[in-house]
């Protein structure tokens, strides 16, 4: 077992009188998909924002390759190779796939004193990267608005990986998707993991987590309940830990099935 790429130890985050994170510890390994499960309000969003440099932890430490890391802002985290793919805020529908793909990282070609957006290069790279992910585009100038939700997530993931992400944080990438689109996104996660990228997959769907996860950490009321490896835990146990057990078990009794 290699050393973890990122270690987060006893992270706490307080907002005024509210304790959003009350001690979260997570290890993230390269080439693995670490699923972070939790119900609404468990602190998932706060945790991601802490990892991606939006929030500074109140207590606790973050080690990146064994060294202490302090991110001043999200750009620091991006520079360090931590990329976040947000559920909705990733793509601009009115812009073409290739313009979206290179947004903020536009390739330029110098002509005398002027530098121009190198559309040929951008289009070529976009087409090959999309092909690798199994998405057939009508052309690189196709607007992102014409893609399905799953395809948009895939474009966003491919973009992050292309620009050198070593840690990819996916914030509920499957929550708004249909069955088939979810399968596509999960397949993408699998491909990215095989390239050696560490994936942090945030979800509240146990089945999606079980499909691709190597490690599972459950967040509940701002705390982690420990991390389980694949094969050590059943979906039912995960579900129970997320919901806090008791109430859901009673509900399942009366409904006669798993929620």
């Amino acid at each position: 077992m290699s050393d973890p790429l990122i270690q987060m130890k006893n992270i706490e985050k307080h907002f005024g009188s509210v304790i959003a994170l009350a001690g979260v510890s997570v290890d993230i390994h390269a080439g693995e998909c670490h699923c972070l499960l939790g119900d609404n309000g468990a602190g998932k969003s706060t945790f991601i924002k802490t990892l991606s440099g939006v929030h500074k932890p109140t207590k606790g430490e973050i080690l990146f390759e064994g060294r202490d890391m302090h991110f001043a802002d999200p750009r620091d985290a991006i520079a360090a190779g931590i990329a976040t793919v947000h559920q909705h805020l990733a793509m601009i529908p009115l812009m073409s796939v290739s313009r979206n793909f290179f947004m903020g990282n536009e390739p330029v070609r110098k002509v005398g004193p002027f530098s121009f957006f190198d559309h040929d290069l951008a289009n070529r790279v976009t087409m090959t990267e999309m092909e690798k992910m199994g998405i057939v585009l009508r052309g690189p100038d196709q607007a992102v608005g014409t893609l399905s939700g799953g395809e948009r997530q895939t474009v966003a993931i491919a973009r992050a990986v292309h620009f050198g992400a070593r840690v990819l944080i996916l914030d509920e990438p499957t929550s708004a998707l249909g069955v088939r689109q979810t399968a596509n996104v999960l397949a993408t996660i699998d491909k990215v993991r095989k390239q050696g990228v560490a994936v942090v997959f945030i979800t509240h769907n146990v089945r999606h987590a079980m499909a691709v996860g190597d490690r599972f950490t459950v967040l509940n009321r701002g705390r982690t309940y420990g991390t389980a490896l694949r094969g050590e835990i059943t979906p039912e146990e995960l579900q129970d830990m997320m919901a806090g057990g008791q109430e859901l078990a009673t509900l399942e009794g009366s409904l006669g099935t798993t929620v």
């Binding site: 812009m95 290179f102 990282n105 121009f116 957006f117 009508r138 397949a187």
Partner: protein
């Protein structure tokens, strides 16, 4: 999970014919409108002198005026913001050139440069307030519409006890920078065309034999230059991609590392720059600055931009389209005069064109974004 990707075309994606693909562009509404307007006036006003050298110069100048402010408004709108203070800025900039250059007697080139610096700074202030407070630019620039217009009336009244300051042409005589706004180019070509009988010449008087139209006004050169620069900036540069991104979804753009605030402030400054170019050309042409100059120009700019296919909510549009929108605007305004139509009907005509162009543009945009 790890199936090999199937690179077959989705059977539910319809093939799009090359013809349809070539037509689907933001400028289509503007192109159709331009053709329609020229066909219309070609049929109804051909003999009126609209298409001889003076006629062409007449509507070209008016269109070029619209173009100058439309380029700024277009890029700003694509970046997701409005500037309602353009008209007041035109009046203010013209007045400042007059106060600096005539009242204070500064050399004209200094007066012009200081005015540019002042107006672009006000544009930056507009943008700064918008990005800092997060207020709609509609409200912020509406405030500046009144503030700038107020100063434009107050300053000359206090200093000169009148609302029009003249004598600019005399003050600008032989000034190198003033000629960049008020002069004409291509005199030789036009003289030759006059001699060759291709364009009309004066038949009597001291200027007999000289062409009636003796050159291309710098106003038109500025308009075409700004359109070219704006178009290249928007479609061919990294900054252009940021303009689209900032207007398309500011949050997504920020997440991708686009300096959205900087882009927006720069576009407010560019809009102010365009308004000042307009004002400089206007005061050099008229030889005076008036407190009521530029009234309603902000709306005319926005109309030209919208006819040209830009989306009012930002993130989509074309500088070429905006230029065509300005051309339609100018040709219709002057063409109705040539055609002998009651001038009040200009507004009716404009409203109808605006409505049709916007409906067509909405339809095109839906095709592009796959809504239908």
């Amino acid at each position: 999970m790890a199936d090999t990707p199937q690179l077959v075309m989705d059977e539910r994606i319809k093939q799009i014919s090359p013809m349809r693909r070539a037509l689907i562009r933001p400028e289509l509404g503007g192109i159709v409108g331009t053709v329609a307007v020229f066909v219309f006036f070609g049929l109804f006003a051909f003999d009126s002198g609209m298409f001889n050298s003076q006629g062409i110069m007449n509507w070209s100048v008016v269109s070029a005026q619209f173009m100058i402010i439309a380029v700024g408004a277009c890029l700003l709108m694509i970046a997701g913001e409005f500037d309602l203070s353009v008209g007041s800025m035109i009046g203010f900039a013209g007045m400042m050139i007059a106060i600096f250059g005539v009242t204070l007697g500064w050399p004209m080139w200094i007066a012009i440069l200081v005015t540019f610096a002042l107006c672009v700074s006000i544009g930056a202030l507009n943008g700064f307030i918008v990005v800092r407070t997060g207020l709609p630019s509609f409200i912020v620039t509406l405030a500046f519409l009144f503030i700038l217009r107020g100063f434009t009336i107050f300053l000359p009244q206090t200093i000169e006890r009148k609302t029009i300051i003249g004598g600019i042409r005399e003050a600008a005589e032989g000034d190198w920078l003033a000629n960049l706004f008020g002069g004409t180019i291509g005199k030789g070509l036009f003289t030759w065309m006059g001699e060759a009988g291709m364009i009309a010449t004066f038949e009597r008087g001291t200027r007999a034999g000289e062409p009636v139209v003796d050159g291309i006004p710098m106003l038109i050169v500025w308009a075409l230059g700004l359109v070219a620069v704006g178009h290249v900036l928007l479609t061919r540069t990294r900054f252009g991609n940021w303009i689209f991104a900032a207007g398309g979804d500011a949050e997504a753009a920020r997440n991708s590392g686009v300096p959205v605030n900087r882009v927006k402030i720069t576009m407010f400054m560019f809009t102010a720059f365009c308004a000042t170019v307009f004002a400089a050309c206007q005061v050099m042409e008229f030889g005076s600055a008036g407190a009521d100059r530029g009234l309603l120009k902000e709306f005319e700019a926005i109309i030209a931009v919208v006819i040209g296919g830009a989306l009012l909510t930002g993130g989509y549009g074309s500088v070429i389209g905006a230029a065509l929108g300005a051309l339609i605007f100018g040709v219709v305004q002057q063409g109705l005069f040539f055609a002998g139509v009651e001038s009040s009907l200009f507004r009716v005509f404009l409203g109808v064109i605006l409505l049709f162009a916007v409906i067509l543009n909405t339809y095109i945009r839906r095709i592009i974004t796959g809504e239908r």
